[in-house]
Subunit: 407 residues, 2 copies
């Protein structure tokens, strides 16, 4: 009889523990806890009636196809809708540049699998999205972090890292992973100047950029900044791989997203998808296609922006009120997305604070889950999309109470 399964596991996976945030969520099951920890959209923004009627129609008109195997790269109608949708964002691509994925997480896993061998490096922002970290971590890479400034990745430091790579001081990196709009976890948006500077370095050092864009239409103030993908296209480049998902702009429950990029990249990712999933379910894809085609997207996004803008303003006011007087505590003021980032004095370990906060019936994600290497321990990721406006205020009040004990 088998006892020691672990000995059979692969070297890459043996020590792999998954996402530490997932483990923390067991502590926030108590319904009295106000959770800033999850990254869920509010169901108030779901176009429920459209989705119900779309489903009813799909099943009435095309049930035998909906329930059958469907093409590995994706459904024709969804490709068409995505091509149109991206034109709105000044991106002009063909079908061969798109792969439908079974969520943004799947899209990130395809990136890791396509590029990374154990010991390979990749460059990413400090902090970065924990879900991307775990997807890449399965390939046992080395993470090279470049700090974020108020207007995005520190280009001078990035340049330095690339130069060190070139000279052999650190291992060369396979790609640079960034979330330019309303970054998860920091809420920071990369300036146009830095997007251009990042592309310059991408060309100079011949290194691809992976641009993760889950929140892009969810801007609550200020003007939209061109995506790195579109700037690259304007400059006749093909250096950018874009990761998109319907999770934040429609609903997460469909588990549909798409990757875009050079056909050589998309073709190879399609081979991987064939072997790791075969196809994304057609019902789920058809709902997304109907959403893109039939809803008034401007109106839909405006409604979402208005809804989340109010929450953002509410939480920023509460932060000013309850944390504004605490020495050494600061936070970002995002222009969109779902998250902001609170920094505490370095003496505070937010992982320890987490358990105290749960006692006070409030939860957040300790910042240390957001670093590939050398985690900083004095940050908190705060989600403001899911809690109600009342909960946002009361949650920050509770959090301030915990913090004040230590400062």
């Amino acid at each position: 009889m088998r006892k020691a399964w672990e000995e059979n596991f692969s070297k890459n996976i043996r020590d792999f523990k998954g996402y530490s945030i997932g483990k923390l969520l067991q502590y926030v099951k108590d319904p009295d806890i106000i959770s800033f920890a999850v990254g869920m959209p509010s169901p108030d923004t779901f176009p429920r009636e459209l989705l119900k009627s779309a489903s009813e129609r799909i099943l009435r008109e095309d049930i035998d196809h909906v329930l059958q195997y469907s093409p590995i790269p994706g459904e024709e109608s969804l490709f068409e809708s995505i091509i149109d949708f991206l034109k709105w964002d000044n991106i002009d691509i063909k079908k061969e540049n798109i792969l439908i994925t079974s969520s943004g997480q799947h899209g990130l896993d395809l990136v890791g699998r396509l590029f990374l061998d154990p010991g390979d490096s990749l460059i990413l922002e400090r902090p970065s999205f924990g879900g991307a970290l775990v997807a890449f971590e399965m390939e046992k890479p080395r993470f090279i972090g470049v700090d974020l400034e108020e207007d995005g990745i520190n280009i001078a430091n990035l340049h330095k890292k690339l130069e060190e790579s070139k000279s052999g001081a650190i291992p060369p990196s396979k790609f640079i992973y960034v979330i330019p709009d309303f970054q998860n976890p920091s809420g920071i948006t990369m300036s146009l100047e830095k997007r251009k500077g990042l592309l310059d370095l991408s060309y100079e050092y011949d290194i691809p950029i992976v641009e993760d864009s889950p929140y892009r239409p969810l801007r609550y103030r200020g003007d939209s900044i061109p995506s790195i993908f579109s700037i690259d296209q304007d400059r006749k480049g093909t250096n950018v791989i874009g990761i998109y998902t319907f999770s934040k702009i429609l609903t997460p429950g469909l588990r549909v997203g798409f990757n875009i990029g050079a056909s050589a990249v998309i073709g190879k990712m399609t081979n991987i998808k064939e072997a790791n999933l075969l196809n994304t379910p057609k019902w789920n894809q058809d709902i997304c296609a109907i959403f893109l085609k039939e809803i008034d997207l401007d109106k839909h996004f405006k409604k979402m922006q208005d809804y989340y803008r109010k929450k953002l303003e509410k939480i920023l006011t509460a932060l000013d009120e309850y944390l504004g007087t605490i020495d050494g505590v600061s936070w970002t003021r995002p222009d969109g997305g779902f998250f902001l980032w609170v920094t505490t004095p370095p003496s505070i370990d937010t992982m320890k604070l987490f358990y105290e906060a749960v006692e006070e019936k409030v939860a957040f994600v300790p910042g240390e889950a957001s670093y590939g290497e050398n985690p900083e321990k004095n940050h908190m990721r705060i989600n403001f999309s899911y809690p109600s406006e009342e909960q946002l205020v009361e949650g920050i009040r509770r959090l301030a109470k915990c913090l004040k004990r230590h400062i």
Copy 2:
């Protein structure tokens, strides 16, 4: 600007081409072609009304949850339904022994990723399922094939391979992959005696068995043989990992399946799923749960068995009639499932024959796609679940015409 993406790709993936069958399907788009190539169930077996009403109910009663993120391991109601469902097959497991997957292909990928490092070996049947081969191939393993006999894997040869592994003559294998019931591609079913013998070797050499069971309830004649998982349980073992899918017993379009096994294995696979997909969509899981709970499964399976049995009888009669007189041509006579296996004289290369067959408006899968190493070229995988009864007869007539030119 980037030209040579390939140089950036990982070593595992650089030469990975995906599933060769997928590439062949472009040749069979002509609607006049009778295709024995695909492995699709017939939509005539889909419980369409149940699925429509289940969907309508799920969206009416619980839309906000259906459209939200859901638990990584799977939905509670589906766990319960699966636990009950497997009792029907003498398998008694708990929630901790189940991971909901986003299809059988996903389930196989989780196996490959959990166990295989580049250069590791695995043992599998000759021939075996091409989809499993590509899932495992992404980890660059060495395939060790053991030939199939009429009653399943050759136990004496398997014993020999395990002994060679032990002595260091060939690399030790991480697991043994088998499809005991109505194997894809051969249609062969493993005898009870061999299932027991396989388990004996699994215990003796401390090597896990991966049992893939997509077709198990689809038996058209003869008595059901206990699954290897259930025999292992009876013997108080935990050596077997079971791979299941709703694709063949309900519909492939939902992309839902499940893996079962020791909690140490399922827990680690759950970590991988978290990083490579996050969760399986709830709508799709809820439909499966309602199917298992609310349909009369005995009646549903009997209806499917009656439907496919007629097709099996039809194609076997056609084979006798059109190929029975051709020297050196033989085929398997499956008791269930979707496929049978035609063997031609060794002088025939069925990959070459494929293109001739397409000219004659008939298609099949050349057998060489079904081997991990040293492919045999004189076999064809013939699917009988999807074509109509008329197409089955006419298709075999056309195939015989092609074959006769070469014999």
